[in-house]
């Protein structure tokens, strides 16, 4: 069957079998491998993408069911080479270690902040409660989402120069000027993604 959807702002049309899951359509047909594929049972949450702005587990949605809808994957978070504040937050607060859960975590965080710009710890933890981080990085993930909430426009010149109180912690020492930080992140994030086929196939 033929399906058409908007992925990261671009219309895509493909012929697929009805049984193809959205996660495999995104990874194998569209070659957007930032969306990770994990447990296959809608438990782990690494395959989370946004469907019409809402987080969904793409291992449990048929590509056919996404026909006519708007999908955002982790590749769609950055705009024009500038990282989303959520991505910057994960860098600033060390929200990832192995990076496997990170795309799903960041998309859930984006969706949360879109409806609740200033969530508290409980609200953040509840929002990500359907996602598993096995590096036990929840504390830093929560801090990363707070960073994004505190910096809705992302890293500013003042942050980079150390003028913002939020930048006075240890992590401030690692930041450079905004353009360079974004460029560095754009390189660093794909490199940190593991390819699940190698370990689960």
């Amino acid at each position: 069957m033929q399906i058409t959807m908007t992925v990261n702002g671009t219309d895509v049309t493909n012929e697929v079998e009805p049984r193809v899951l959205l996660v495999h359509y995104i990874r194998d047909v569209l070659r957007l491998t930032g969306t990770h594929w994990g447990c296959d049972t809608s438990n782990c949450g690494t395959c989370v993408v946004l469907m019409d702005g809402q987080p969904v587990k793409s291992c449990t949605v048929l590509a056919a069911m996404a026909d006519g809808h708007a999908i955002t994957t982790v590749e769609g978070l950055a705009t024009g080479g500038t990282l989303d504040p959520v991505q910057q937050g994960f860098m600033e607060e060390h929200g990832l270690q192995c990076g496997f859960c990170t795309p799903g975590m960041m998309l859930t965080a984006r969706a949360l902040l879109d409806v609740n710009p200033h969530p508290d710890d409980t609200e953040i933890r509840r929002a990500i409660s359907g996602q598993i981080c096995r590096c036990t990085g929840y504390a830093t993930i929560v801090r990363s989402v707070h960073w994004a909430a505190d910096h809705p426009a992302g890293m500013t010149e003042a942050d980079a120069a150390g003028g913002d109180p939020a930048a006075l912690d240890d992590s401030a020492g690692t930041t450079t000027e905004p353009g360079a930080a974004a460029a560095e992140a754009a390189r660093a994030i794909p490199a940190s993604q593991t390819e699940p086929e190698e370990v689960t196939a």
């Binding site: 296959d40 048929l62 056919a64 069911m65 196939a201």
Partner: protein, 302 residues
């Protein structure tokens, strides 16, 4: 990699269209809404439908509507909507209690009340909620609409009275004056099925005695509500001694099986303890019940 076996896919535009598709493709066709129960079963070949009929475009089935002395909930209403509805929270706090522990927030963005009821998993929380609230299911087929009580609707594990060419369209819950309700579940971790859970709904007469009472149990081998508890509570004044006896009767009515979630005596203990807790909480909530004030009919979150 877990992939369902091949099937054909059709998307329904209207309820009539969905029923026509069900009639055309027969018993090998299945309705898919949220898909978070059906797709995992299809991946494991526990379900192998030849046709999937996607009803996610049937916005006419996505509503929460107060209609006189009942609340009408469309079958395609998502768990997230049920949890966020202020009207449901005010009228039936048991729904929020249960929804907060159904799967996780992301799964709740997709899953629907109709899907939960039609899946008829013995550990399904909303089945118990609808049982104790005395809900009715509105089912539509080629010959028209029929109304089923929850007792009629449930036919045991993974089986309902909805025929192969019928679609569950709506759930109607009666609004009783001076009522309160609660649900509590013990689960091993976020998103897991219940080890055991209990739900209670009470309504009081003007003199402060219990007019109607029902207690239901989840995942411990009891269909419907505990008749002995209803008989015990009706006409009585709420109190700890009464609720202790209700807990004992609920544990007796339970018929759990030992599995990886726990042994029989533990689950029976939970049936007892959770019954007492939900009866206490349902009683406490009567004071804050908003149903008697008579809001005008207002569509919400449609």
């Amino acid at each position: 990699m877990q992939i369902p076996a091949p099937f054909e896919y059709a998307r329904a535009d209207t309820v009539d269209d969905a029923i026509a598709l069900l009639s055309r493709y027969g018993p090998e066709a299945r309705i898919i809404a949220g898909g978070h129960s059906l797709l995992p079963m299809m991946k494991l070949r526990l379900a192998r439908p030849e046709w999937l009929i996607d009803i996610n475009d049937l916005f006419e089935l996505d509503f929460v509507l107060r209609d006189g002395d009942r609340l009408r909930i469309g079958a395609l209403t998502r768990h997230t909507t049920l949890l966020e509805s202020a009207e449901i929270a005010a009228l039936f706090p048991i729904v929020g209690d249960a929804e907060r522990v159904i799967a996780d927030p992301i799964v709740r963005n997709r899953g629907t009340i109709g899907g939960s009821l039609c899946q008829a998993d013995p550990a399904e929380d909303l089945a118990t909620v609808c049982d104790v609230l005395g809900a009715e299911a509105i089912v539509r087929g080629p010959l028209g609409e029929r109304m089923l009580t929850m007792t009629e609707f449930h036919r045991g594990a993974y089986e309902t009275a909805v025929a192969a060419d019928e679609l569950l369209c709506e759930v109607r819950i009666p609004i009783r004056p001076r009522s309160g309700s609660a649900y509590e579940k013990v689960e091993r971790r976020v998103g897991d099925w219940a080890v055991a859970a209990a739900g209670a709904a009470l309504s009081f007469a003007e003199d402060g005695t219990i007019a109607e009472a029902s207690v239901g149990l989840t995942a411990v081998g009891l269909d419907g509500t505990v008749g002995a508890v209803t008989e015990l509570l009706r006409g009585e004044r709420p109190g700890e001694q009464l609720f202790i006896e209700a807990g004992r009767l609920a544990a007796l009515a339970a018929d759990p099986v030992a599995d990886q979630r726990g042994p029989v005596d533990y689950k029976r203990h939970l049936a007892d303890e959770l019954t007492r807790r939900v009866l206490r909480r349902a009683t406490d909530r009567v004071a804050e019940f908003a149903g008697a004030t008579g809001h005008p009919t207002t569509p919400q979150e449609g």
